[in-house]
Assembly symmetry: C2
Homo-oligomer: 346 residues x 2
């Protein structure tokens, strides 16, 4: 069973603090929106689907904590908190998708008492969480159909249970493949600067009994040249209408390598990761993070303290490098502009 | 002026301990071959040309410390120490080249008194050091002819003064370009696992007043996609007769990215780095290092303690991905098999 990354517990949001893994498994009970904002910002909660769920639960929490006695006051408060939560991280679209879904629901229930709307909002947040669980399982099944017994697979960052409420996206494919009796071997990129591959993916895969080998991000090419990688599976933080996919920095690097070595490159992401308002990946906002994430590791300086740093948290893989996109609604292939169109929400 | 990476001082080998940089500038006076072996193994001394010089000085040290009173005893001792030094690191050929040059010289002076041979050997080691200084300057001049005013250049690992006795190989090109009044900007890959880019290259370039920005190894692709990299310059640890070049792990990664983005990729290395006994890169032995270099950073665990690790210290860039090889004897281009033939020692 995957770890419970994020849940609702006694009127609070309970989540595992991912900055402490794998050294410490610590659950936090979060009772306020500012604390949740910080948790998303600091990557205590991370992974596009998990951030979406956190956003939805955050709106439920804000509603729950509200003392407003009229709908107008309540909605004004809620909108302020939603705007605040939306400012935590700019790239993963699941956050905006979940916040917007919660806001629309509040608006459309204006005729009901505030106490009732609070219940409706919590129910909706839990539905988003539950939908994520189901979509993880569906993605895993579709994805596993692409995996053969004996495959060696490369993955980047953490697209596992820790990035979702359940099985994960890319890693879900591995868990399901194993469940189906396929023997697979996984290489996990450590994923600098924040080492989600080393800290989270290695930990999760070992926990689930999957054969995992950790590498530095710059070692994948040499493995590919030796014919040791059969497939690449990664997650995504936002996918444009044409299939261009933003994901953790370094994903585009892997995609170019996969193309050069003629290795299939698969993106696994729920429909909530698609942003049909954005035509191509060029328009996806890319978060730049603090220089000290590169200059220091686990608090130790590894570079001159004053050195300039470029630290984008994500990059964009163009659709041409993506063999297929696996969602809970099926597997999509080129031309994406056309194939993905059927996912558009009306 | 570049830092004095390695010299001969009062009968000892003085070198800067590169494992402590950039936090601490500490010089070690090494008086024994086992201590030198450890210094090479632990990467206190690193960089193919510097390892070669260390090897030559190591033979001079062994000779100096010898109490043998006959040539036979002296040579037997020397050969034992040479064999031992050769076991420190397997990939950089400069070490074997320098050790073999010293051994041949001892052999060819068998008719002289041991005390005289000791002097001859020290003189030869200092000549190797001096040749390296001169070849650094010559490589830098040839390399700088490939650099335009305004270029933005990517480099990987540390091919600087710290890898040689002087200006460096790839970084020497930058220093010389600056000296010629060209404005350049450098992106330095941090170069996991041992972070030579973050610790050494960033430090050296800042020290010499060159505009340097540090990135994680997985960020180069996104810079290239944005058209922000004009050229790549790297060093090499061993170059086969056909131009295939072994260099720090991740170099092949960068070479593939450069090819994909149509960016020139230059290797800068002295003639002592060529191994004409080896036809192609497939035959270059690649050192695999301890798993804990990946699992831990600066002593802190960044991954599960028991996770499997793949940790090759080098990879091989095939000649097809190399735009040109810059040596102290000029710039060589494809077909390398043919162009490099004129470097073969008779």
């Amino acid at each position: 069973m995957p770890v419970e990354t994020i849940t609702w517990k006694n009127g609070k949001i309970r989540y595992i603090d991912q900055t402490l893994l794998p050294r410490k498994v610590k659950f936090i009970d979060c009772a306020s929106v500012p604390r949740l904002w910080k948790a998303i910002k600091r990557l205590e909660i991370r992974g596009a689907p998990a951030i979406g769920i956190a956003g939805a639960l955050g709106v439920a929490l804000a509603a729950n904590n509200s003392k407003a006695d009229t709908f107008e006051k309540f909605l004004a408060e809620l909108r302020k908190e939603i705007k605040y939560l939306a400012s935590s991280r700019p790239t993963a679209v699941n956050l905006f998708w979940a916040l917007s879904r919660m806001e629309c629901l509040a608006e459309s229930n204006s005729f009901k008492p505030v106490a009732t709307i609070k219940k409706i909002l919590l129910k909706e947040a839990l539905r988003i969480l539950d939908e994520d669980k189901k979509s993880c399982r569906a993605m895993a099944r579709y994805g596993a159909s692409l995996v053969k017994n004996g495959d060696t697979i490369l993955t980047h960052c953490n697209a596992g249970g820790l990035a979702t409420a359940d099985y994960g996206t890319a890693l879900g494919v591995f868990f399901e493949s194993k469940r189906q009796g396929k023997h697979i071997k996984v290489y996990a990129d450590e994923t600098r600067p924040l080492l989600q591959g080393a800290r989270l993916t290695a930990w999760e895969l070992m926990h689930e009994g999957i054969d995992v080998t950790l590498i530095c991000d710059n070692m994948a090419a040499s493995l590919m040249a030796k014919g040791k990688i059969d497939k690449v599976f990664v997650g995504a933080d936002r996918i444009a209408a044409n299939g261009d996919a933003a994901n953790k920095i370094g994903t585009y690097n892997v995609a170019v390598l996969a193309k050069y070595h003629k290795i299939p490159f698969y993106v696994v992401a729920p429909v909530s990761t698609f942003d049909f308002n954005i035509r191509t990946g060029c328009d996806i906002p890319i978060e730049e993070r603090d220089a000290n994430e590169v200059r220091t590791i686990m608090g130790s300086h590894v570079a001159p303290a004053e050195v300039k740093v470029y630290n984008p948290a994500f990059d964009v893989t163009p659709n041409s490098l993506i063999t297929a996109i696996v969602t809970e609604k099926g597997i999509f292939r080129k031309p994406y502009q056309k194939s993905l169109a059927r996912l558009k929400r009306p």
